[in-house]
Each structure stands twice: as C-alpha cells, then as structure tokens.
Amino acid sequence: MEQIYGIFLYTVFLLTMGGIYAVLTLGLNIQWGFTGLFNAGVAGFFAIGAYTSAMLTTAASHRHLGGLGLPAGAGMAAAMVASALIAWGVARICIRLRSDYLAIATLGLAEIFRLVLKNENWATNGARGISLIPKPFEHLPEPWNQVAMLLLVFAIVLVLYGLLERAQRAPWGRVMSAIRENEAAARAAGKDVERLRIEAFILGAAVMGLGGALMAHHIKFIDPNMAEPVSATFLVWVMLVIGGSANNRGAILGAVLVWTIWSTTEIITTRLPAEWALKAAYLRIFLVGLALQFILQRYPGGIFRERRLRTVAPPSSQKGGSHP
C-alpha cells in the first residue's frame, strides 16, 4: 500500500515537473514554432523569471536583494514582466539577426545572465543561491500540498494552451507563420516584420520567465547551476522538437514525455548491482539519448505535426513550405 502511495506521489511530482517544463516549451514554441526565432538562450529567461520571483516572495534576508515577502502569484507576474522587459532590450539589439546568428547571440546572452547572477553576490547571494522560497499550498497536509501544486501548474498550462491556440489561429498567429515561412513575402504584404518578431520574442520570454518562477517555487531554492544550458535550454529544445514544433499540444506532450524519460530511466539504472552505481548514472544518460533517438527516428517531424489552418484561400493558394 505504501508502495502504491509512493508511486502516486512520485507521479504527481513527475507531472508537476513535466508541467513546468511544458510552460517553458510553450514559451519556446511561440518563438521557434510560431515565428521561427532560434532562441538558444531559454536558460537566461528561465533564470530571470526564477530569480525575480524568488527575490520578491522570500522573507527579508541579508543574503540577497529583495525579500519582500509578496505572495507567489505576484512573484510570478513580476517574473513575466521582468523577462519581457529584458527580452525587449535583447530583441531591440538582436532580432534582425538571421536564425543561426540569433542562436549564437541568445546563447551568449543566457551565459552572461547566468554569470551575472553568479557573481553579483550582494544581489543574488552568488553561487550559493536563494533559499527558503515559499511554495504555494505547502502548508496543506500531504498529499494535498503536492496535488494542489500539480493542479496549479496544470491550470497554468491549460490557460496558456487556450490562449496560444487562440493566438495561433488569429491573424497574429498567421502572420507569424508567414514570417517564419517566407519573411520577404510577409514584408512585401506590408507587415512590419521586425515589430512582429519582437512581439513574439517578448511573449515567448515572458512565458519562459513564468516557467522559471514556477520552478523556483516548486524546488524552493534557486542557484545559478539550475540555469546551466543542458537542462534549461537544450532539454527544452528537445522537448519541443520531439513533441512537434508549432503545435501547442505537441509542446506539452513533448515536455511531459521527455521529462518522464529523463526521470524514470534512473529507476531502472538504480536496480543495477551496487558496484555499478557509478556507471549506472552514465548509463542512464545513454538510455535517455537512446530513447530520444528512437522517438526522433520514429517521428521525424515531432509526434504532433503542425496543423495547417484551412482558410478560404484564393485558388492560387501558395504551397505550404515544409517547416524545418
């Protein structure tokens, strides 16, 4: 019985983490899936969101700035605003860069953010991170505290999904895919391509900031290690590509699926004999790679492909270019 209860709690945790990653993946989907912006700096906006919310919601502390003790909801809203503002500054400078150049610029910027957070001890407590971050519903008895957190994350994912589905179908979303597929054509049609690209970048970054804030509250602790590129940028990319870019359902499914693979492989490798303990940790990373390879081979365009809208198109409708 305890065993089943334990697995239930683990499943709740797994889905909560999967849901938080789904928020990040949805953010990336706005930038890459909708608009074709190659943002390789997810970790940067994740970190800005996480630190903003952490600083605003923790109790006063001499270790870091802030400590205003605001409720978690206010912290999350502020995280979105802070990420959006910084994304606006970044976008003003970088948005005109072609995809691979934008990737290099954003990757570099994310590292800069991480190193600033790591070195400005007076503001962020440096490498030692911010602790005692309040977690929503943590005072409820187990398992309700964890279930309530899962429901909160689930609700946020659902609301985001609804809004983004709406946005993707709206003229705004269609202009975005026009920019992605053929920027020159969009420009020729009189669209202010640069402004629209900035909009998508800011919106995506705000959603990533929200994901960062959720992670900070869920873990109750944040340090610069959590914003290292492997688990905060590339993992999110893998989730989106596997789920299916430009498809919001794909983004969510990819996040939950990849996180499940990431996490559950350890349960298997733990069963190896004790003298394998060291090798098992590396074997697990191999298993993760193998599983991802398998899925990518099986579903080269992502599990869910982009759904093209059926519009009342003129007879000479353009051929839908395949999405990279």
Binding site: L9, Y10, F13, R128, G129, S131, E138, D223, A277
Partner: protein, 408 residues
C-alpha cells in the same frame, strides 16, 4: 493517438515493475544521493566507495535489524538542485527508503531537503554539504550533516597562516557554492586576526589559463596565495600558472585540493615546502598523528584499494555507518524514529564505537546500552541544528614519499 497509448502503457508498466520488486522483507534501504555526474564527478567516486565500505562492514558483521541487508540505493543529484529534487523524490517515494545520506553539494542538499525530504518527514545526513544556510532551514530536526560548516575550516587555515608568519595573502576561489563560501570566510577570518588580504578574486572553473587573474593578484605583494578550488576544476591550473610565471611560490588551500594528482602533475619536488592544505581530521589522540577512529577507517579503506586522504571519503564512511547505527537503535525501519536515534548514537555519552565495529555496536544496542560513534572524520556530536560543531584540522604538505602528509 495509438502510439501515445502504447508509450503511456509502457511507461506505466515500467513504473509498476520498478515498484513491484522493491519490497523485500528485512532489507533496509537508505538512499545514497551524490553528485555522480556533473561538476564534482571527479570527487564523488571515492566518497561513494567510503559509503559502500560502511555498508559492507554492516552486512559482513551480521546485517541490520536482525540480519537484514543494509542497502544503499544510489541517486544522482548532479550537484544541481533540480536533479537532486528529482533523485530525492524517487528515493523517498519509489524506493521507499528509510532515510537519505547525501547529497554532496550544498545547493543540492538545500533543494532536496526543502522540496522533498522535509515535507515527507525523511531524515537526510549529508557528508559534504558545508554551506551555513543549511543550518537555517525549517527542518523539523530532519536535516543533518557530518561535514563542518565552512567557517571552521577557513578560521583554522587563517590561524595556521598567521602562525606560519604569513601576513599578506592574496585569495582566489572557484565561484561555486563550496569554494566561494570557504574563500569569503577565510578573508574574514584572516583580517580578523590582523592579517592583510592584498586581493581577492573569484574565478570560473575549467578555464585553460588563469594568468591574467594571477598577475593582478601577484601585483599586491602578497606572501602567499590562498587557492580555494577543486583540484580538477581549476586548482592544478592555478598552481601551474603561478609556478611557471613565478607569480607566487607559497600556497595555501583547503580539502578540495587534496588529491595525489596535484602532486603527480606538478611534481613532488616542485611543490615540497611550498604548499599547505587543510583537511578536517579526527581529534589526535596521544602525542600526534591521526586518531584511532581514522586509522581504523583508513586501514580498511586502503585494504579495499582506495585512497583514504581523498576529500570527504571519511565523512562518506561516517554518514553511511551512522545511519545504520541510527536505524538499528530505532529498532525499526521507521522514518519518524531516525532523527532522535541519530542523535543518541552519535552524541556522547555512551560506549565508544569506532569505524568497522558494527558487531560490537549491534550487541550494545541489543543490550540496551547507550553508544557514542566516534567517526573517522571526527567525534561527530550533533548540535541543535543537526550540524557537527567544529572539528580539528590537519595541515598537509608534500611528504618525502611524494604524497600528502600531515605536517607537524
């Protein structure tokens, strides 16, 4: 959709299979979380070997709770709070461990304790988390550590430096949760004694060269350079750059540098007399030399083919052994009883138990006697925060045989 159903079914089957094989009667499972992959992967294998040696001692000498096997279930905390929380959840919920030893890093400990083990009422006992912050968690007496908080080692090293006649010291530290804490505490301690810090600089580990930082630091006219770094991350490179460019020829450091690869790569003759590293060590008994507990551990550890002077291996042994003692004392694999039992078996008074003396401890507990574990890493007396209060330190230099040797 069909494929997704298959995937979901496969996932559920894997979970059930994992759960089903977990409960074997009489065996006691304790989580063993460590940064197996990630930034300190070079330091962890010997620490895990230390923990496993303790489990071997328990199982060879009659087992736990009347003959059960004491099992350490590994979890990879990656020195990253996110990974530590994930690993901790699996240990606590899927593996149903009684308690957790580890994780290695302070940040990982902080995340795992707050997000997983404290809400679940599970005791954690870390062997190498040294950040002062961990003392201040609202832990309901569930978070313990056998590694002394940073401040102690830094003060001891600062005192050593002053006594050795050094008055002006430049400080560089790797910017991670462990070394940054040590470095800053060292600066404060040395200035308090009356010494001068001519410059301090944080550096990012794993770079090819630190010449420019070191030249800047050398400009202050310091007598010595205090290096707080992991040997493999930046420690060796900093020593090499300093020696090659004749920037410093006297070095101080802490236990993150205690590895024979430092001597192997730079040469025993080059380093002899120039470098001193502090390391937590058990109370010396008698005139000099390491204590009886440490010797008992070191001999067993060497016989198993490992190097007992590596950083935190004696702590690794101690946490695994102490946790077994606490479970035996509690009399049941009951999460709620571990915290109180841990204090009882670790703190004086009581019959002294040393590393490897499982059978003696088991019989004493069965006879209802109070026991007091005197660990390989020190006496281990937990205070109200679950911290070990203070420790003694040895100061090591390069010995005649080309290994790290305690200096008088």
């Amino acid at each position: 959709m069909k494929h997704i159903r298959h995937l979901a079914a496969a996932g559920a089957a894997a979970l059930l299979a994992a759960g089903g094989s977990a409960a074997i009667a009489a065996d006691v499972k304790v989580g063993s979380a460590a940064g197996i992959t990630g930034p300190i992967e070079g330091l962890v294998p010997p620490i895990l070997a230390g923990r496993n040696l303790a489990a071997t001692h328990v199982n060879e000498q009659g087992g736990i709770l009347g003959g059960g096997t004491y099992m350490l279930v590994p979890g990879d905390s990656q020195c990253n709070p996110k990974a530590a929380v994930d690993a901790g959840t699996k240990l606590v919920n899927v593996e149903q461990v009684v308690a957790v030893i580890g994780p290695s890093c302070s940040g990982a400990t902080n995340g795992m304790a707050q997000s997983v083990t404290i809400p679940a009422g599970v005791v954690t006992l870390s062997d190498s988390a040294t950040a002062p912050m961990i003392s201040f968690l609202e832990d309901g007496d569930l978070v313990f550590r056998a590694a002394p908080s940073d401040g102690y080692q830094s003060s001891a090293l600062a005192r050593f430096a002053w006594d050795a006649g050094l008055r002006k010291i430049a400080v560089t530290y790797a910017n991670d949760d462990y070394n940054a804490g040590l470095g800053e505490a060292f600066v404060a301690a040395f200035e308090q004694i009356g010494g001068t810090i001519t410059g301090k600089q944080a550096h990012e580990p794993d770079r090819q060269s630190y010449r420019s930082e070191l030249s800047t630091l050398a400009g202050g006219g310091a007598d010595a350079l205090a290096v707080f770094a992991y040997f493999g991350g930046s420690g060796i490179t900093i020593l090499r750059n300093s020696l090659e460019n004749a920037l410093f020829d006297r070095f101080l450091g802490a236990d993150g540098m205690m590895d024979n690869s430092v001597i192997e790569q730079l040469g025993a003759d080059t380093l002899r007399g120039k470098i001193t590293l502090s390391q937590p060590a058990p109370e010396a008994e008698g005139d000099s030399g390491p204590g009886e507990s440490y010797t008992a551990f070191a001999e067993a550890f060497m016989a198993a083919g490992h190097e007992p002077t590596a950083p935190y291996v004696s702590h690794g042994y101690d946490v695994a052994f102490l946790m077994a003692l606490a479970i035996e004392k509690a009399g049941a694999a009951d999460r709620g009883k571990i915290s109180a039992a841990l204090r009882e078996v670790a703190n004086a008074p009581g019959m002294v138990i040393r590393p490897g003396e499982w059978q003696k401890a088991r019989e004493a507990i069965a006879a209802g006697e109070d026991i007091n574990y005197e660990g390989a890493s020190g006496a281990i007396e937990f205070d109200e925060n679950g911290d070990v209060s203070g420790a003694t330190y040895t100061f090591n230099g390069v010995g005649d045989d080309g290994t790290w040797t305690p200096m008088k």
